[in-house]
Amino acid sequence: MAQYKMHLLVCGGTGCRASQSEKVVENLNSEIKKQGLENDAQVVTTGCFGFCEKGPIVKIIPDNTFYTQVTPEDCAEIVSEHVLKGRRVHRLLYEDPETQKHIEDSKHMGFYQKQIRIALRNCGFIDPENIDEYIARDGYAALGKVLTEMTPSEAIDLLKKSGLRGRGGGGFPTGLKWEIAASNKSDVKYVVCNADEGDPGAFMDRSILEGDSHSIIEAMAINGYCIGAQYGLVYIRAEYPLAIKRLQTAIAQAKEYGLLGENILGTNFSFDIELKYGAGAFVCGEETALIHSMEGLRGEPTVKPPFPAEKGYLGKPTNVNNVETFANIPVIFLKGAEWFASIGTEKSKGTKVFALAGKINNVGLIEVPMGITLREVIFEIGGGIKDGKKFKAVQTGGPSGGCLTEKHLDTPIDFDNLLAAGSMMGSGGMIVMDEDDCMVSIAKFYLEFTVEESCGKCAPCRVGNKRLHELLEKICNGKGTEDDLEHLKNLSNVIKDTSLCGLGQTSPNPVLSTLEHFQDEYLAHVRERICAAGSCKALKLYTIIADKCTGCTACTRACPVAAITGEKRQPHIIDVDKCIRCGACYDKCKFSAIYVQ
């Protein structure tokens, strides 16, 4: 086996592949061959590095060089300079936006400095389609340890001690969930991996499945052993083709190695995994809806109890955990509960992966210890707000979460703090907003999503969210009243209080949190008919500055609704009631006489 001096890790995640990373791999390989360096350097297609903003990423080890936005044309230079001569290609190095200096070692990048990668430990490091690389990183050692050295109850105890909580949104203690499933007697039980990632902008589950599918297989097998299940099912969105392919490859490899199937590692334990494809309905992330969808029924939730741990897939006890939760499991068994529990806050242990998006410099996937502040995440890891604008709010927890503001920037992030602040952890979406964002419009945007994604089973979610959206639309159109704000609040509270599943119970959060933190903005919309951020078109106010108007009548002719009147060579006037805010006059005026508020 060749002993390579150098490894070129190229991101093969969906994002980087979209910007030609496969071609980069191809070119790097052919250049290496051309230079006769096949025995010195190896190109590895890995999972996601998280730094999607600047993809495609090529990382070179052992010197931790981090090249960003690498094009297929850059490959010749990388090979001839870096691989052959040991000289870094400076123009491709990451440039710190503040100091404008190229950073040579990725360890010094602000993006990575505060991250602790547990769930993402192998993403961007190993070739996910090669089981040997996973095994070389202690892969399947945890399964071996659990199967040969621990009883199921010892293993569950260890997990309970670690303090791991579900990463899918609710934050239910994982060990306890396993214990309940284990305690329900049945010949047949199921382990389900919830890979129905649905929050807009969140893609951690996809990245883990694409970059480290074996960790999920290993964790599911451990789960099976602990609760007495023989079958595992991965409910995965059909629109994740790469993740599906890698998972299928990994399952086949694991079977070949005897790590899945009959009598795993020579023990009495047998476990098999099957994939079930989802059609992308957001509500199917809710575990009862997910189970119904797998059963071939309409993807809609049912009242709990009974919980899946009691009556789940095909009526059998079923444990459902999300991808990121599973990704934490093997490490916990290898490094111990104490190690895991030493990271994070009192009630939220370990790390959390967040998908940073919105008006932030470093868009991407990050994994940070619980307890880190929003400030650290947004300004240090995320590199601050784009274009030097002012931070306004951050939406955590996707459409079910709430907007947090300036005053929350120093709150340590964990399950309970986010809940107390009127938001939630959710699956870890984090969308940053700046001064140009209108919070009423933001709330409306999220409601649009929930209205689309409601399954329609319960009345408050089916009709209530629609009505919330209509109210928000009315306010954005400048037709809102203060009564509407009261109504908005009552309706939101009732929907939260009465909806059947998590979707409806959280869907009004964006409304409630913006109502609370940005009340002035709502009041400005309904009282003064002003949208300070300038994003509500209907609230734009066009007026003519008399001093500048020459009375050229160009605007009069441009106005499609005859809202502008005036004598020739005299200042004109816009009739506000007639104006439809189309902006035609503004575009036509050569004298900057039209003022937009």
Binding site: A281, V303, E452, S454, C455, A459, P460, R462, R467, T498
Partner: protein, 587 residues
């Protein structure tokens, strides 16, 4: 197991483990409002999707409100059913539902019987606080020969879905679309006529609003009655007389045969006849067919199809045409009483009257919606003219009586007209599950053995259990009989036969719970099984009071054969009283 204690509105109550909050509250007289919840206890079917959220209550220690219909009590649970939080939530949710419902109560056929309307009154809703011009979900209207779907009025309670799938196993209806546009419909939102729907109408019977309503031919009947060139005659099914009174405030099970006849005569029908007469005729034909098959079987004919299945119930006929097309030669070929009546009326009786077929209008009053479909089937028409022109339900007859200013309570009893108004007790019991087969046995026994029956009541064939079996001895010969009501039970029996697990000679099937007395055209029983039981008792009471209780002893039936038909299963019978079935499988 054992009992647990809960506290509801400060009242301590001990309930069985597994009881819901709704049930516990009921136990102490607290009537929590419900909408989607439906308990059909006589079918052991509960619909509690937890979808309407009207029945929410506050549970101490719980973050959000709990749906009382589907939340089980736990020991020590403290519940508030009328706190301001609960009342506000309920009212707001009801307003939401109303905001997506057409506000046309005044002209809705379910007005006065609508659960949503009743709740709006109960909650004192005077205004729906929503955005002006709030969007309302609208859907394509769907009309079938038996029932209409106006899904703009659907509130997604899913009761129809439960009945169609869990009770009847027809599988025509399920929730489609998502979110605001969610609605219950046949797959791909196709028309009911293109779906496996059997028109049993049980979905209509449980719909809380006017989303599912019967197709109504009453206006055509009024027009025919007013037309001097038409002779209009009417037949009334046995189950109607045991339920019609309920629409006029009488107790369930009140027999109103005489008042019904008087009302129909007062409405202007030229002759008022009884479907029971045709039921007797059915027994002559179906009984003969049964005996024919059994005799052949006893004599060693291995090709004979047994068991023989009854074919009076049109929803059942539709069901086996869709789901058991491989067994089309098993059911009896005898037409249903409604169709036998029509066929005889438009031949034999038209001749007696000297009226042309086209000028004779035959109306039927049925407890059933599938009968509306049945009378439109092509094989029951002659040159496009149907044997039975219009079929209306018990409820529609009540409306017709009310609209004609008839004071039903005060009517003096009147008798049916002759010849087709004369019937036996055997004809009457066609209205209940087990009744058709009992009527057949009463006749077949005597014909087979040549002996008079010692007892006329066959208690072993009676009852309201979903599937029943009994063995009756025709002399030395044991006759194994199976009985099922509700199509889900019929499917179980049929599957057993298809797989060769059962060894029956005859099977009676009725699609509706309790048989025709629980038909979808009857006054709504709202899941109260005692109503069904009362009608059941009334039917047997009517039977017991009849002087003649065996079909073959009906003098006018005897005369009909002598004057017109010849003999059962004869040439004329074959044309006028028998039919054939079609393969209508959908998938």
């Amino acid at each position: 197991m054992g009992n647990i204690k809960v506290k509801i509105d400060n009242i301590e109550v001990e309930v069985k483990r597994g009881s819901t909050i709704y049930q516990a509250a009921k136990q102490v007289g607290i009537d929590i409002p419900v909408l989607c919840y439906m308990n059909l206890n006589h079918m052991q079917i509960e619909n509690r999707p937890g979808g309407c959220r009207i029945c929410v209550v506050e549970v101490e220690g719980r973050r959000n409100l709990a749906p009382s219909c589907s939340t089980e009590c736990t020991d020590g649970m403290v519940v508030k059913t009328k706190s301001i939080r609960v009342l506000n939530a309920r009212k707001t949710v009801l307003e939401l539902i109303l905001s997506d419902h057409p506000p046309k109560c005044l002209v809705c056929s379910s007005s006065g019987k609508c659960d949503l309307q009743e709740l709006a009154q109960r909650f004192g809703i005077r205004e729906v606080h929503m955005v002006e011009n709030a969007e309302v979900s609208t859907y394509r209207k769907d009309a079938s020969p038996a029932l209409n779907r106006d899904m703009d009025k659907c509130i997604m309670c899913r009761r129809c879905e439960t009945v169609c799938n869990d009770v009847q196993t027809v599988g025509a209806l399920s929730a489609v679309n998502r979110g605001f546009m969610s609605v219950v419909a046949p797959a791909f939102e196709q028309d009911l006529t293109d779906s496996p729907c059997t028109f049993c109408g049980q979905c209509v019977a449980v719909c809380p609003t006017g989303a599912l309503t019967p197709y109504d031919d009453t206006p055509m009947i009024i027009r025919a009655l007013a037309d001097p060139t038409k002779t209009v005659i009417v037949q009334t099914a046995p189950a109607v007389r045991a339920a019609l009174g309920e629409e006029f405030g009488m107790n369930p099970g009140t027999l109103v045969t005489g008042k019904m006849v008087a009302a129909l005569r007062s409405l202007g029908f030229d002759k008022v006849f009884d479907t029971d007469f045709a039921a007797d005729l059915t027994i002559m034909e179906e009984g003969a067919e049964l005996l024919d098959r059994i005799t052949k079987y006893v004599n060693g004919d291995k090709d004979v199809k047994l068991p023989i299945l009854t074919s009076c119930c049109p929803a059942w006929v539709n069901f086996f045409e869709v789901y058991f097309p491989d067994m089309l030669d098993v059911p009896s070929t005898a037409r249903s009483p409604q169709q036998m009546f029509g066929s005889i009326a438009k031949t034999y009786y038209a001749d007696i009257l000297g009226v042309k077929r086209e000028d004779l209008v035959v109306v039927s009053i049925m407890p059933c919606l599938a009968k509306k479909y049945e009378c439109q089937r092509d094989e029951f028409k002659v040159n496009g003219n149907p044997d039975v022109d219009y079929s209306i339900s018990t409820r529609e007859l009540a409306s017709l009586i009310k609209s004609a200013n008839i004071n039903f309570d005060k009517l003096e009893d009147e008798e049916f007209d002759l010849p087709m108004g004369e019937s036996t007790g055997a004809g009457v019991i066609f209205g209940v599950t087990g009744g058709v087969i009992e009527a057949a046995v009463r006749t077949a026994y005597e014909v087979f053995t040549g002996n008079k029956l010692n007892r006329i009541n066959f208690e072993e064939l009676r009852g309201l259990a979903g599937i029943r079996t009994a063995t009756i001895y025709f002399g030395e010969t044991p006759i194994h009989i199976g009985i099922a009501h509700q199509l889900g039970n019929a499917r179980k029996l049929l599957n057993g036969i298809r797989e060769g697990r059962y060894n029956f000679h005859a099977i009676e099937i009725m699609a509706c719970p309790g048989g025709c007395i629980g038909g979808a055209g009857q006054p709504l029983h709202h899941g109260d099984s005692s109503v069904i039981k009362a009608r059941y008792d009334a039917i047997y009471k009517e039977d017991a009071g009849k002087s003649i209780r065996k079909s073959h002893e009906n003098p006018y039936i005897i005369k009909l054969y002598e004057d017109f038909l010849g003999k059962p299963l004869g040439e004329k019978s074959h044309h006028l009283l028998h039919t054939h079935y079609f393969d209508k499988h959908k998938i």
